[in-house]
């Protein structure tokens, strides 16, 4: 048994951390947060050059062909640095969907562009409030044309293409849903940026008006593909969340060591010590669940659905917990715009919702555990 990343993978993590420390300091995040740029173009370019965008894309399609464990360690670093780029939408959602369901031609068209940083992709799934569900998909696809509205779509306003979930039937079954690929530059889609709790990452409303689209994967299998994509993205995003949680914990720890009150470091008060210990506990449990998710993802194990849900729940809560208590450790200063604490708090709460809510994943986990037990 080696329930850990390999030395090479750890080296890749260190490399990513070093790269991001240099290219993505907090002030780079703030440039996007403050609305000066929709995303960090320089960083995006750099990530492509480092080979990070295509790390899990096969060499045949312009990627590094390394694999998903490699992508996991990079995801962790992206989360730790709060990288203000469309990484999760492009790499975890769009690329995974194409890898799973795309034709050879579709793969040849988009994957190399993703790996090289030329194309930003996204998944247009949600239509207002609610969680992933076939019932909530109203956007219609008829005769290769899409009509309807998707929101929120992560990075929808800067995407070059989108994987769109559309209704192609009305039987009330999952098979009513099919996936389509839309070239955003080809017309028929209007994107509107939407204000969100984490402005360092964009959200948009996409309005499809007789928009031409090509099918992605077999008709009627859209929701089954989406489920697989969401499980895969859940593991990857969980690594981002664990990266963020760890960084928030570190910030809190450092402040507790430096800050003096009542003549001694605040980290010498048990109230603060134990708050930080509890943060460490939740971050560690989340990390361990994530490792199991990484194993399941990288081996395409039948345990993936269960492992993904566990990683997602655990990492979502760990990041929220660490981010909010990092502010608490910082006291008043933590509640200023100037300190970076709120950027982690914003990201933690935004990421918590991006693949469906905590309640949704709780329900999913128990469903999957039952199925496994019944099997």
């Amino acid at each position: 048994m080696n329930f850990d990343f390999s030395d090479e993978q750890k080296q890749l993590r260190d490399e990513a951390r070093k790269f991001l420390a240099e290219k993505c300091p907090p002030k780079a995040v703030r440039t996007v947060l403050d609305g000066k740029e929709p995303y960090d173009r320089e960083l995006w370019k750099g990530l492509a050059e480092m080979g990070f965008l295509g790390v899990a894309i096969p060499e045949a399609f312009g990627g590094a062909g390394a694999g998903h464990l490699e992508l996991c360690v990079i995801a962790e670093e992206m989360g730790r640095a709060l990288a203000p780029v469309p990484f999760s939408s492009t790499v975890y959602l769009a690329a995974e969907a194409i890898l799973l369901a795309g034709s050879e031609a579709q793969k040849q068209k988009w994957l190399p562009k993703i790996a090289s940083g030329e194309a930003i992709g996204t998944l247009a799934l949600f239509e207002g409030k609610g969680n992933p569900s076939p019932k909530l998909i109203k956007l219609s696809a008829t005769g290769g044309s899409l009509n309807g509205v998707k929101k929120p779509v992560p990075d929808g306003a800067i995407a070059d293409f989108a994987v769109v979930a559309a209704r192609t039937g009305s039987s009330g079954r999952d098979s009513d849903i099919s996936l389509f690929l839309v070239d955003m530059k080809a017309g028929g889609v209007e994107a509107k940026s939407l204000t969100n709790v984490d402005p360092s990452r964009g959200q948009a409303e996409l309005t499809f008006n007789n928009c031409k689209a090509e099918p992605l994967g077999p008709a009627g299998e859209g929701f089954s593909i989406i489920s697989q994509v969401l499980d895969r993205a859940a593991v990857l995003l969980a690594f981002e969340q664990v990266g963020g949680a760890d960084r928030a914990l570190e910030m809190g720890r450092d402040y507790a060591l430096d800050r003096i009150a009542f003549g001694r470091p605040i980290g010498s008060f048990q109230a603060v010590k134990h708050m930080l210990a509890d943060m460490y506990v939740s971050a560690t449990l989340a990390r361990s669940n994530c490792y199991y998710g990484a194993w399941a993802l990288s081996t395409n194990a039948s345990e993936l659905p269960e492992a993904a849900a566990a990683a997602r729940i655990s990492a979502t809560q760990a990041f929220q917990h660490c981010a909010k208590n990092n502010i608490q450790v910082h006291g008043g200063m933590g509640f200023t715009w100037e300190f970076d604490c709120h950027m982690y708090y914003r990201r933690a709460n935004a990421t918590a919702l991006s693949l469906g809510s905590l309640s949704y994943w709780e329900d999913a986990l128990i469903d999957r555990m039952r199925k496994k037990n019944a099997a």
């Binding site: 207002g128 609610g130 969100n196 709790v197 060591l257 800050r259 001694r264 608490q328 200023t336 309640s359």
Partner: protein, 415 residues
Amino acid sequence: MNFDDTPQEAAFRAQAKAWIAANAPRQYEEELKNSSLGRTQLKGANILEVAKAWQKKKADAGWACLHWPKEYGGRGATPIERVIWQQEEGAFGKLSSMFIIGHGMCGPTMMAFAGEEQKRKYLPPLASGEKIWCQLFSEPAGGSDVAGLRTRAEKRGDDWIINGQKIWTSGAHYSDYGILLTRTDPNVPKHKGLTMFFLDMKSPGVEIKPIKQANGQSDFNEVYFADVKIPDAQRLGEVNDGWNVSLTTLMNERMSIGAGVATGFPELFEFCSSLMLEDGPAIDDRDVRSKLAQWAVKASGLKYTSMRAISALSKGERPGPENSIGKLVAGSMVQDVAAYALDLQGAAGVLSGPEDAEATGKFQAMLLRAPGTRVEGGTDEIMRNIIAERVLGLPGDIRVDKDVPFNKIPTKGRA
């Protein structure tokens, strides 16, 4: 055990109700009712002006600072009359937020320590809202350790010269006066070298910078002092006795109960009552119900705790540190409630614009404002210490700096 007014209380309530019905700025009532944590503006009106006008109207009719003596602009009312007034004033009471510090902390401090002439000069315009006061205690180096402040006051002739920086000053930018706690002797232990003053906020050398908060708003300021001159006549209490003076201020803060603390529960209950989830109304979901029930009993527990405190007040008992409960419980509850409201919205919960978000983005605003509630006016940790020490009688924390001269206390944890 009853919720009934005594005949006197009923008469007072009727009088207050009638006056409010006839005089309150009804046009803003709906908006004020719907404002919740993290959002306090009025659309199409300057809230400061509206608030000042309402306060002046109240003062002219004898309804301002009810518990203050008449000669200083109050009504000489009983504590319970003050509570009844607050109940009747309802949502319009939200207009008083910019006066809370002045009326609740600065005024009582002036009453206890200023000269008679000063009181007659400064208190009535404070009561009527014509002049706004702020409180300058917190500092970057201070935080929970208020007495760790570093702003220096040095005697020069009949004046004191102030240099330093304050932080977290609510309303400094629209305040006319402030009470200011300074260090006058750094060679003695920290509690023993402080002195209190009041000052004109327009004094030369006072510079005010708004603090941009984590939620993007600016409710507080930094205030810088560069050779600001304060006449010795504006000293409150003895030189180096400022810590005791500040305790009066802070104790008076705790007296102002009944204002109620925001828990977010009524908003969440209303939201769940109308929200449709995929399988039906949210309020029919057993998971939602269990969570709502947990918050419901906290919210009602706080409500009735406050009523018990009001009853004690009406019997002439002094509210104690038990009231720290409200802040402690509500602070993290509002954060949890807001996060859960977002969770119920699913992926769209991330949207925060009033047009795009569910419930006009009320819960998103609440979530972003919430971290402040666990810190401002005393952190959760300080509140638990207060309860443990002053209610339960447990020992204070070990104070390593108690007998150390202030200028010998370390300022940085790691070299």
